[in-house]
């Protein structure tokens, strides 16, 4: 029964909730990005690479211009540039979308690893720079339960939550959104009706670059103030899974990311709980909690997920 008590302990600990939010935030940015791209019919598994570029450019901008805010702008530019590469290859040239995205991941890993030394003077990691300050909600009373829970969060967290609503609005409440869905479901029909399939797809892929790079920038200029080699560590792929788990909707992505975040926070709380006498050789198993939960949720609670019909299918302009 110790395990039950340990789980209850975790839920009673306010930090659990703030850790859930901070673990979910980078995933949420990238998931929303993936969502825009896939809604228009272009798969984008390059999220991982774009996040890494975003994390690197965020610190680069901070180092060059002395402000992490400029770092964020640079991150978004580099994210959009990488996404443009993917769009150009996979939309205009109908390249295999998985291949072109994989190329971007490898490019991002190689480039950021290589540039560390010539730009920052040492491989592995950069110096520590300024980071975006947290928003302190002092009126909650420093030290109170509520303050520990949500009183000291990065502005990125709020931005990610706002973007969920914005994405929902764009996709389901605007003319642009209608076109996005039309192009993702049936590009031939959309084309016939005069919708620019390439244009809409370019928009979707560029959005994915902008959003995923924000998720990467959160890791570097939002959390650490430093870039370390390969610091995204697979988060782009988990974001992709969250997008699918959320059935290609912004609301679904939010819940899926929160679930992954909570599972991760739970992992951290349980591993360190002294009342569970677990040998250290078994501790790494706890890092599997997010994936086990995913399997359970996917198998048990979520109905069949359905991707946009033309997702991953290149479209060739007629005539």
């Amino acid at each position: 029964m110790n395990i039950l008590k340990a789980i209850l302990d975790a839920f009673a600990n306010p930090i659990f909730y703030s850790l859930t939010l901070s673990a979910a935030t980078p995933l949420l940015f990238a998931s929303l990005g993936g969502l825009f791209s896939e809604k228009t019919g272009v798969t984008n598994i390059a999220l991982e690479g774009i996040m890494l570029l975003g994390a690197f450019s965020g610190i680069l901008g901070t180092a060059l211009f002395g402000s992490p805010w400029i770092g964020i702008i640079l991150a978004m530019i580099s994210g959009a540039a990488a996404a443009a590469l993917h769009a150009w290859a996979s939309i205009n040239f109908q390249a295999n979308q998985i291949v072109s995205a994989t190329a971007i991941i490898l490019l991002a890993q190689g480039l950021t690893g290589f540039l560390l030394e010539p730009v920052f003077g040492k491989p592995g990691s950069t110096e520590i720079y300024d980071k975006i300050p947290k928003i302190e909600l002092k009126f909650l009373g420093k030290g109170s339960f509520l303050y520990n829970m949500i009183g000291s969060l990065s502005p990125f967290v709020y931005l990610a939550l706002i973007l969920v609503v914005v994405s929902w609005f764009i996709i389901y409440k605007t003319k642009l959104g209608l076109r996005i869905i039309a192009v993702g479901e049936n590009p031939e029909a959309a084309d016939t009706l005069g919708v620019s399939v390439y244009g809409i797809r370019w928009f979707g892929v560029l959005m994915s670059g902008l959003l995923a790079s924000l998720g990467g920038a959160y890791l570097s200029v939002g959390e650490l103030g430093q870039f370390t080699e390969n610091m995204t560590n697979g988060k782009g792929f988990i974001a992709l899974a969250a997008m699918i788990l959320g059935n290609w909707t912004p609301k679904g992505a939010l819940f899926a990311c929160l679930l992954f975040g909570a599972a991760d926070a739970m992992n951290e709380q349980l591993q360190s709980n002294p009342s569970l006498a677990i040998p250290s050789s078994a501790k790494p198993l706890f890092n599997l909690i997010p994936f086990v939960i995913t399997l359970i949720v996917v198998a048990g609670f979520v109905g069949k997920t359905r991707s946009p019909a033309a997702d991953g299918v290149p479209y060739e302009k007629k005539g």
């Binding site: 850790l19 491989p123 520990n148 991760d264």
Partner: protein
């Protein structure tokens, strides 16, 4: 023109190779600049080159594991001593060394003595011994009577750090009749610094006020968490002196003497005292130690430093047998 250049180059190189004692280090994939064993080993090799005029030091970087065998062979063909760095080189070295019986090979952070190759000397470290002192310091400094440990992947070196740390806390509890607890977590990688940070925050929230990270780059997240958390919260660094990465927030660093091992190995070969086999370096050989605590000396009470010095002396004399495995820790 090109041929002339080649001839000139050869002419320049021949006397150097003919006269100098050449040492070539082959890095593992971490490469120079990892702030850990590659840099540390290179420092040791460089020290020899600075000390003796006729020693030439050079380095070959490995980009992937498939490079190890060709790089070691290339190094062996052009030098007297080859230094191979990192646990993952063990198989490559076993394959290459017998082909070059006239070249000395020095391996850092692994043990190849079982293969019985007459021109190979390897070094490992007693990580648990330096972690023991770090654990004692953490136990003594903790206000909350809870301290934390965060490991990367539980490879042998990391587990030894963990066991030694726990043993140090246990020692403090015994001597001072306290009950300081150790929280333990593993990030299961060496690169995700955000995870290092959140895990540290989780341990702080569970009452820990000092967290020791033996988790590669994840440790940078631990330092950041300590800085954010502010007064009364500390971290402990690993492998090399990391104290300067967050001055005043890193109580100490549990260092292993990679530099000293490389230095000693090359020196022995240079002076003709090379002996094949394996050496495990601990406190007694000055192979592991705590950092000098440049930024934290003044906040650590004198009595703690005195007791640590005492424990270190006792461990050196063999009066304390510091555990290295989970079973030994239970019996400790």
């Amino acid at each position: 023109m090109k041929r002339l250049l080649t001839v000139l180059l050869v002419l320049m190189l021949v006397p150097v190779f003919a006269m100098a004692f050449t040492v070539t280090m082959v890095t593992d994939t971490g490469g120079l600049g990892d702030q850990s064993f590659n840099d540390g080993t290179w420092r040791g090799v460089e020290m020899i080159a600075e000390e003796f005029d006729d020693v030439e030091a050079q380095v070959i970087q490995s980009n992937e594991q498939a490079d190890y065998v060709p790089n070691l062979s290339k190094a062996a063909e052009m030098s007297d001593v080859v230094v191979a760095v990192g646990f993952l080189m063990v198989d490559a070295l076993e394959q290459v060394a017998p082909q070059y019986p006239d070249v000395y090979f020095i391996g850092i952070d692994f043990d190849l003595s079982a293969a019985g190759i007459p021109n190979v000397k390897t070094y490992t470290f007693k990580e648990h011994e330096t972690a023991f002192l770090a654990g004692f310091l953490a136990g003594a400094m903790s206000e909350s009577k809870i301290v934390g440990f965060i490991g990367g992947i539980p490879v042998p070196a990391v587990v030894k750090f963990q066991i030694g740390y726990q043993a140090g806390v246990k020692m403090y509890n015994k001597l001072h009749n306290e009950n300081v607890q150790v929280l333990i977590g593993y990030t299961q990688n060496f690169t995700d610094s955000q995870k290092g940070k959140t895990m540290t925050e989780a341990q702080y929230s569970q009452g820990a006020d000092i967290v020791f990270a033996a988790a590669g780059l994840c440790g940078l997240g631990t330092f950041e968490a300590a800085k954010e958390k502010g007064e009364g919260y500390y971290a402990i660094g690993v492998d090399v002196d990391q104290d300067h990465l967050a001055p005043g927030k890193i109580l100490t660093s549990a260092m292993k003497g990679i530099t000293a091992a490389a230095y000693m190995g090359v020196l022995d070969a240079y002076e003709g005292y090379f002996t094949a086999g394996h050496e495990e370096l601990g406190l007694e050989e000055n192979g592991v130690q705590l950092s000098e605590m440049k930024y934290t000396k003044d906040i650590i009470p004198q009595w703690i430093l005195v007791e640590i010095a005492g424990l270190k002396a006792m461990a050196k004399d063999g009066e304390i047998d510091i555990p290295a495995t989970e079973d030994e820790l239970k019996a400790f």
